[in-house]
Symmetry: D2
Subunit: 330 residues, 4 copies
Amino acid sequence: MSTRQIGLIGTGRIGQVHVHNIHRYLNDHVVTHAYDPFVNDAWLAANNIVKADSVESLLKQDIDCVLICSPSGEHSKQIIAAAAHKKHIFCEKPVGLETDEIEQSLVAVEQAGVVLQVGFNRRFDPSFAKVKSDIKDKVGIPQIVRITSYDPACPPEEYVKGSGGMFFDMTIHDFDMARFLADSEVVEVFATGSCLINPDFKKYNDVDTAMVQLKFANGALGVIANSRQAVYGYDQRVEVFSNNACLKADNQTQSNIRSFTKDGISTPVLKNFFLERYKEAYINQFHAFFSAIENNKPVVVNGFDGLQAVNIAKAAKKSFESKSPVTVTG
Amino acid sequence: MSTRQIGLIGTGRIGQVHVHNIHRYLNDHVVTHAYDPFVNDAWLAANNIVKADSVESLLKQDIDCVLICSPSGEHSKQIIAAAAHKKHIFCEKPVGLETDEIEQSLVAVEQAGVVLQVGFNRRFDPSFAKVKSDIKDKVGIPQIVRITSYDPACPPEEYVKGSGGMFFDMTIHDFDMARFLADSEVVEVFATGSCLINPDFKKYNDVDTAMVQLKFANGALGVIANSRQAVYGYDQRVEVFSNNACLKADNQTQSNIRSFTKDGISTPVLKNFFLERYKEAYINQFHAFFSAIENNKPVVVNGFDGLQAVNIAKAAKKSFESKSPVTVTG
Amino acid sequence: MSTRQIGLIGTGRIGQVHVHNIHRYLNDHVVTHAYDPFVNDAWLAANNIVKADSVESLLKQDIDCVLICSPSGEHSKQIIAAAAHKKHIFCEKPVGLETDEIEQSLVAVEQAGVVLQVGFNRRFDPSFAKVKSDIKDKVGIPQIVRITSYDPACPPEEYVKGSGGMFFDMTIHDFDMARFLADSEVVEVFATGSCLINPDFKKYNDVDTAMVQLKFANGALGVIANSRQAVYGYDQRVEVFSNNACLKADNQTQSNIRSFTKDGISTPVLKNFFLERYKEAYINQFHAFFSAIENNKPVVVNGFDGLQAVNIAKAAKKSFESKSPVTVTG
Amino acid sequence: MSTRQIGLIGTGRIGQVHVHNIHRYLNDHVVTHAYDPFVNDAWLAANNIVKADSVESLLKQDIDCVLICSPSGEHSKQIIAAAAHKKHIFCEKPVGLETDEIEQSLVAVEQAGVVLQVGFNRRFDPSFAKVKSDIKDKVGIPQIVRITSYDPACPPEEYVKGSGGMFFDMTIHDFDMARFLADSEVVEVFATGSCLINPDFKKYNDVDTAMVQLKFANGALGVIANSRQAVYGYDQRVEVFSNNACLKADNQTQSNIRSFTKDGISTPVLKNFFLERYKEAYINQFHAFFSAIENNKPVVVNGFDGLQAVNIAKAAKKSFESKSPVTVTG
């Protein structure tokens, strides 16, 4: 496989995670340049990354692809800029915030003929990927798709304030997973939610507990349950059912030892959070990205997938506000 | 405990099951008389039960209580008749079909001072009962209640035709379970459904696959998933979550042996259907019924519980037809 | 099936259990007469059983079969007496204490042409029976048979004193299970043991913790682990392995609910003891016994099975005392 | 932590695995020089490793420690040579073949004041390490230690011929694990075995199926079950029991998805073999090794541990040949 020189836009937490994973686990490839208005020079130096002064200057470097890990509101225009420079693009979710901007960016990508992969890493989780690959043979056409997605700890109010709301911040991963597993588009959403953990979230018209019901184009039904806090760990499950079979990917505990005492039989709590739970998924998504570039093959999560997740999140928010089911446009 | 003489109204399948269980497992008590317009004399004889010519004549016998196992449309008037004769009443679900009739029957019961227990047997399933009893200490106030209820095999079209629809025929058990576990009233229902197994059910405006979302008075969220057919057995699960804990009652397999081969690790399918899965629940509900009579204590499933399940089923049907969330009256 | 009139010899705990099970679950059959030098008249009356003054007088009654639930030392001669009266015989384990006496009793049974079934009830446990029936198709010829058999609570010293030692009192069930599952005779035993729970058991040359290694005639290997106390419940497992497959019957917990908290994920402890754990086995063994009589078919546990378990127990005791492997005679 | 320069003796499979792991996962440290009479130059070059012409010449390089991955018969003298050059030593199991040679090498290590860690990697498996660390609090003093260790596929006859026999080649890991978990020395071994998979192994007085019973100094009992082939994957379990509690580390399946069909409920087979199953253990043992050097702390697996495993294996072989229990010397 050809070695890829990579530029990074945004050197916050997730950008640093990607650099770490690429350098350790995909070491044919290397992140050589980075731009961030608040970049940490020490971190750059420790990773042998050259600082760029702007997105434009970054895109003029000798790089094959860019990782867009900047704030969500900048994604669309950065995708357009990268496409203009014929760079392959890995863009964190959400692919953008506004439908029209996203659509423009997808046109730019199409015209430039570059690869665009969106960071819905969970599709690359070995368990969920195996569920997906077994569906056709075992389940046939899914009739019911159920997703459980609970975070281990409630975020601080400050985070919630700027998060865009639970449906955009948290459920968006689940919307993508629902489409991925159902293999049919979501046509209708009905979302309910409550503040049952932290009543202060109401100030931002946000919730900490939600249930989102989905109807797919083929008549299949779906539901996503969300909570901002499950004290027993990061609860991440999927279940795909038809009257012929059911496939379940259950949680992963911190170890597989069982303790038998007079009080009961116990196992450790679940893996704690996404960097631990989805460790392999974060690595695998880059194997897939570079492989798509190398072999000129379609990516597993393309720009349209990114757009649709945003459209569903918008419908969910509207449903929650209007207390009625909402048709997904797009 | 005093021996109870029991009269039976309706000698169909479920009536016969109750007689079998009472005679074998609660043998302080005995079913002595029965009325059914289509009664099977041989079955009566084999069980030492005397035939009555009418409900009225049955109620005049020397019996302490009656089991109402007749068609649903007759329940309310039979409850009223039994109350008039001061008989304690065990009534199969649904407690009635029309809200006003049900309410009249509950007034009659109240005035007569007799015991009325409704046949929501699942509350007496040892697993579900243990979940219920552990909620207060472990979960606190439930925030999310999820119920899975899939039958093992799709019923014939003829059955579906006269069933009253999936929400009344099948989900009604789950509506009761949801109230039981959430310990809060259902205030809003949003029901969707599809015919994905047998398209012929559409003729009756019925579905074979459904998802019903619930909102409880205290803000908690619920969801019920239903399918008329899960080929791997009778899939019956509940899960009660708060941010402090989660309790799950998982399915019961036909045995607990595991087979390890080159093709994987496998266990037998689930218990097949309700008489097998809820065997203990059917027995336990009569222990509870006779104990309530004996000790003059409240029953675990009273007439109001029976009424509320009907009200929720009505709301679900209306929601499905109107494609919008419906407030539960009552 | 013909109704069987049954005589009972020995009205202690296990005899009473059998009467309860037969009257409740096999109600085509009835225990009509009983003999015990210390019989409880109230219990007899409550069960409609007529007292006999001696074994001889019991055997002269109008009965088809006898249940021998007397002290172990009397089994052989009572079997001979029952055979002389042409009664079918269910005999509790052990079938006798001395090899020559047992052999004489088996000759008597053979000559009388009556049915003799020995009370190794665990063969009738649904899980273990399913393992057995699946072995041929899945495992083929077993290569390793492993049995775990831990009691929930250590017996009092007084019980241990008169128990005949752990290998006769407790492991004898496992010796039978090992032969049953391996489908090959045990040819060599190596037994070790320690007093790790109650050092007072040393007074009686007994142990509370034991490990017994078995070699089967076909070269297969076996091992039985025993403890007088597992605080988490009655630990009863079998595992049958060949290089082609492995079958495991795991323990049964008191319920199948799981509790997820910050401290871990827990299930209830195991079923507490034999009357609970082997409830179905106790019933099923009588279905099988009466069916063998009715249909003139071989029993599942015959006199030779009873004899071999005793021979293995003797070899185990000798191995423990001599600290060397011992060949099983018989 | 200081960067360590490392020399490698023996560039076969396991040596290459260690280099890969150190360079990828412990990248403060680097293997700089290697000796092997049959060294692969391309592999050296690809890993930036300089070839040494002999063990002596390797030991004269600027290295802090050596990894001994040569044939077992050379371990003792290479340990002595490395100690003479004051190099810290990681030595693959077995630490040597002959008791007296091993003892001499341990004296040399002691006198040189260098660190010696033996390659019993399983102690560093997260599950087994967690069992170990929980024993004191939960189990107290172990009374029964049981180990299952089945390989996924039978090795070819040629391998078996030169393997030193199953007890030295395969069970030696389990002997170490037994000592580790029991926290008491093995004082007596009784080993049985059969050729049930490949009868040709008898030519070498070897077996493919074995059961080894252990008695520990404190009276606790142990047993190890071995098979050269379990078609369902690499079966690696431990179970530590006292009458107060039991800790079990169960197998790891290839994924945690469950498939529910009419034929049953199935999960994938077990992880296939040691590089997959013990991936983390192989990495963790080097974290521990370098940490012990850095902090001048005792290693988790020292030379005495290496010696004792050999002594137990010798006793097991002798027991198998003499068909009697054998006292472990040492």
